[in-house]
Each structure stands twice: as C-alpha cells, then as structure tokens.
C-alpha cells in the first residue's frame, strides 16, 4: 500500500463527517486544478481538519514502515497527515512537485513548514529535495529544524557528509537531542567526531555543560586526542556523562579505547551487559 493510500485511510477513519467531505472535495479540485488550488487547500487544512494527534496504532506504524522503509509518523498530527496527503495526491512528476513544494515553503506558516519537512521521505524522486532539506535545517525555528532532523529517514539517506555533519552539530548547538536522529550511528564519520570534540572543548572552556549524547558521535572514530577527551569525561564527568563516555569507548575500534574502559570495570560491564545504552541514556536526558 502506498504512503498516500495509508494517509487516506488513517484520515478517513479519524475525521468527522464535514472534515472528511471537505478533504474529499479538495482532492477532487486538485484533479482539475492548478497550483493555487493546492496552495489554498493545504493552508485551509488547519481550519477544516484541526490539529489533533494522528495517534497511530502499533499495527498502523508497521504498515507505515512497510509502505516506506524508515517512515515514522508516530507523533504526526492530523493537519500534517492531511497536508502531505494533498501534496502526494496532486499527482505530479518530481520537477513539478519540487516547484510547488518550494512555493509552499516560501509562503508557509510554522505548522505548514513542519508538515512539509516531515513529508520529505515520501516525495517522488528523492534526491531532488536535498537543497530544500538544507533550507529546513537552516531555520531558526527549532520545531522546523526537528521536522527535518528527528524521526526522519531523509537526511541520513540523502545528505552529503558535510551537510550531515552540520545538521548533527547544529542539533547539539541548539539544545536539541541526538537520539531521534535516524541513521546517527550509520553515518558517524571522523570529521564529525573531530567537530564534536572541538565543540566539547569550547563548552569546557566556557564552563558550560555538554550533552552526554555528544560522545555518541565520537566513539566510532575516536583516536588520539579524542580518546583523551573521552578519558577525561570517564574520570571527571557527571554520572550520565561517564556512561556516555563508556558507551563511546566501547564502540571504538582503537585498542587504546578498551584499555581506558578497563580501568572502570563497573561501567565496562554495565555496557557489555547492555545495562546502559544510548536509549536508556536518552530517557534520562
């Protein structure tokens, strides 16, 4: 089943009669309509459909993942679903889709922007939206940033390494969280590890706290001075930070990392016995 069809089903089963009718009419108008019909309908969604949570069941979440691997609409709202649905059923080729998406983003309100960026993994001809995703990441609005960065498979699949690194670093910078970033471990790289450590040094110099999650980016490519940073956290950090450093060291291929970790047997076994993980750490942040 296609994402559009799934969205249609979910909306159909959740909307009141008049909202359902309006949506059906809007879709009809799209068939014979042009850009402005799409734009107006998309904006009208909040007035006609509202913003209640979509509240998908576990079964529906599974269907989503089958329809599009990595699609995670668990915290979507009705208006987001409806807006993306309208975009998808306006049935166009990739070029037209991008043109309309850009127009919509250029005149969007906050809620619309969040919807458009959450929909990224579903749009036709995926590589076309890389620049648009970068615009989303450039935003000052945290909610919009997170619409691209969190629970969204698009960045890990499509962004170049420099763009990816900037996104992850900005996530830390604006006080957002890393754990909802899809593909975080898969796309770890030495450049990002270095950037993260440099950022840690800045925070230490300023006497400001560091998110324990930062070290997750460092572990897989930790070497030399980065190992010393991890050692420092292991020794002097807060409890969550020490756990993070331990996890990071455990993920390092460098034999020196194992040596560092061995000096803390309790932490070392907590990691190897999976008593502490990035997931449990995330819950504590």
């Amino acid at each position: 089943m296609s994402p559009a069809l799934l969205l249609e089903q979910w909306l159909d089963s959740r909307l009141q009669a008049n909202a359902r009718t309006w949506l059906a009419d809007a879709v009809q108008r799209l068939r014979n309509g042009g850009d402005s019909d799409l734009y107006r309908s998309v904006s009208l969604v909040t007035r006609r459909i509202g913003k209640a949570d979509l509240a998908l069941s576990a079964a529906e979440m599974k269907q989503a993942n089958v329809a599009r691997a990595g699609w995670d609409p668990g915290d979507w709202s009705l208006d987001q679903a409806a807006r993306i649905y309208l975009l998808l059923v306006s049935g166009t080729d990739g070029a037209t889709f991008l043109r309309r998406l850009d127009q919509l983003c250029n005149t969007a309100d906050v809620g619309e922007l969040v919807a458009f960026y959450r929909g990224l993994p579903l749009y036709p001809d995926q590589p076309r939206y890389v620049l648009r995703a970068a615009e989303g990441i450039r935003t000052n609005m945290k909610a919009v940033f997170e619409a691209v960065a969190h629970r969204n498979p698009y960045p890990a699949e499509q962004l170049s390494e420099p763009a990816w690194n900037q996104m992850v670093l900005k996530t830390l910078f604006i006080g957002s969280t890393l754990h909802p970033i899809v593909g975080l471990d898969r796309r770890a790289n030495p450049v990002l590890a270095r950037m993260a450590c440099n950022y840690a040094h800045e925070r230490w110099a300023a006497g400001r706290p560091i998110s324990p999650e930062l070290w997750r980016c460092v572990g897989p490519h930790a070497s030399g001075e980065m190992l010393r940073d991890l050692g420092r956290v292991l020794e002097k950090g807060t409890d969550p930070e020490r756990k993070a450093a331990a996890l990071a060291l455990a993920s390092s291929p460098d034999p020196a990392a194992i040596g560092l970790l061995r000096a803390y047997p309790e932490l070392s076994s907590a990691v190897s016995e999976n008593k502490v993980s990035w997931q449990t750490l995330a819950g504590a942040i």
């Binding site: 107006r40 909040t46 007035r47 913003k51 209640a52 250029n106 969007a108 906050v110």
Partner: protein, 307 residues
C-alpha cells in the same frame, strides 16, 4: 489580570519587549500587516513579510509564552502604489486562509485618495468572499470624516458592522462608531494622539461596551506595555474592574474571536501539538504533562515598568 494587545507590530520590536509584555500579563496579541517605515517596492518583500507574520514572528512570540495572531491585508499607504497593490491583492488569498489569521487588516484610508478607496473596497470584498472580519486603520489626518467614510463604505460593500473593528479612535469618533454598531478600538500612544489619561475618561463616559484598547507599538516611539499600564491607571482612577477587564482583554477576544481562530483555550490550555511545537520555553516538552493555566506573571505593573 490577563491582557490582550490586539494591535501591535512585533516585527519592529525587540525581545526585551516580549519579556516585559509577558511579565506584565499579556497572553495574546494581534499583529496587523502594515508597512515597514518606508515603502516596499516589490511584491516579493510583501510576500516575505506576510510569511514572517505567520512564521518567524509567531514562533518568536511563542518563545516568550505569548500567543501571536495576525491580520493580513494591503495597508492604506502602500495601496497608493497601484502596480504593487495589484500584485499584492493577487497573493493575499493564500494568506487569508492560514491558521491564526483573524481578519483582513489593517486596511482603510491614509490620505483618502481614490486609489486607497479602490483597494479598501477590493479588500472589503475579499473579506466578504472569505467570510472574514475586518480591521480598519482610520486616518490620523482628517480622522473624523475618514472614520465615517470607512464605516459607510464597509456597510456599502456588505460587511456587517459587528464584524468590523474601527481602530485609532478618539473622543471625536467614538460616538459614531458605537452608534453604528462597530467595535471601537483605541490606540494608546505615549506622547502624541490618544493617551491613557484621556482613555480613562472615555471609559468612564462610554463604559466598556464594544470598546477595547491597543498599543499599535511599532518602529516608532510607542509603548508595548500601553495596555497593562492603561489598565492600571483605570483601576487607580476608579473604573470598575469588570470594565477594565473587558477593555483590556475580554472585548478584543470577543471581537476577533468571531473569526474562530483566536480562542481563550489557546493560552489557558494549549493543544498538545502547540505545546510541543511552539511553547517550548514556557510549557513542557518530551512527555511531561502540559501546564494548565497561566505562567507566573507579575501582577503589579510597577515592578515591570521600573525593573
């Protein structure tokens, strides 16, 4: 006491203002689309401006716990650039239907030129077509006749008086506005035009029926705390609390609430999605229970003013 400022140009104001407004008890505001201090010459800057009213400025206000609504329209000054005006009118419908747009505004007359009249009427027609309220800016020069004309043309174009807010009133205009069934808003300026001492006497004379106040604070010398300060003065000077609450909160809500886009529950009990998306600094994120009721605010205006 809670306050609403139904006419304030926050794009021109700093975060210092937002902090003080939040501390003074302003829970919601309406930002009318207006000009930038010098004329726009390209429709593109108009488009980007309107986008910012429903985008960045709405988000920025939310960071201080203030609910931001707006009115959308072509203002009277820039209506005089006919080529630009045509292009703006074409784009307006896309914004009118967006969330949080409570009226077509601020529209009306500035110099009362024929071109201004043309686009005032065109936008009244739009308001009718989209079933929207209208926020009218009355001219600062030749105000009395301009106000009368604004009301007559609105009625002529088929818009109901109870759907229209006539703003920037003074002692000379208020009687006619009330008699004809329109909402009468007063802008409280620090030095020029209507001031808060005079407002107290207007309240004393006319009561609170269909009367409310705003600051119209913008890039000029103006006071974003005009509403709470005037409330304070009214209370000090013996205006009944019930009237003060209506003039400084309830009536603006009643008038613009007719749009269906502005509701008290938005700030008393924000929807979960709004909690997550907008009000991060002031409510709760990540699975904790949303805070119901207003944030701690400084009740006494003195503390805010002289902080």
């Amino acid at each position: 006491m809670r306050f609403i400022d139904p006419h304030i140009h926050m794009s021109a104001r700093t975060t210092d203002d937002y902090e003080r407004m939040a501390a003074a008890g302003i829970v919601a505001l309406i930002e009318p689309a207006f000009w930038l201090g010098q004329p726009r010459t390209q429709v593109g800057s108009y488009i980007d401006y309107m986008s910012s009213l429903v985008g960045w400025e709405r988000f920025r206000a939310a960071q201080f716990g203030i609910h931001h609504y707006c009115t959308i329209g072509l203002n009277s000054k820039e209506a005089n650039n006919e080529a630009l005006a045509e292009q703006v009118l074409e784009v307006l419908p896309r914004y009118l239907v967006k969330e949080g747009v409570v009226a077509v505004g601020e529209i009306g007359y500035d110099d009362q030129t024929p071109v201004e009249d043309k686009y005032y009427r065109a936008q009244l027609a739009l308001a009718k077509e989209f079933d929207m309220l209208v926020q009218v800016h009355t001219p600062h020069r030749d105000k009395k006749s301009g106000t009368l004309r604004s009301m007559e043309v609105a009625v002529e174009m088929g818009v109901k008086p109870e759907h229209v807010v006539i703003d920037h009133n003074n002692e000379e205009t208020v009687q006619d506005v009330l008699d004809r069934g329109f909402w009468a808003a007063f802008t409280i300026y620090p030095n020029t035009k209507m001031g808060n001492e005079r407002m107290v006497e207007v309240a004393r004379k006319y009561g609170s029926n269909r009367i409310f106040i705003d600051s119209s604070a913008d890039w000029g010398v103006s006071d974003p705390l005009a509403v709470p300060k005037t409330a304070r003065l009214m209370l000090d000077r013996g205006i009944p609390t019930r009237d003060v609450e209506a003039i400084c909160y309830g009536n603006a809500l009643k008038a613009f609430g007719q749009s269906g886009q502005m509701k008290e529950e938005h700030w008393l009990n924000p929807a979960p999605i709004d909690q997550r998306m907008l009000f991060e600094g002031n409510s709760v994120l990540r699975g904790q229970t949303p805070r119901v009721g207003e944030p701690a605010i400084v009740e006494r205006i003195d503390a805010v003013v002289f902080k």
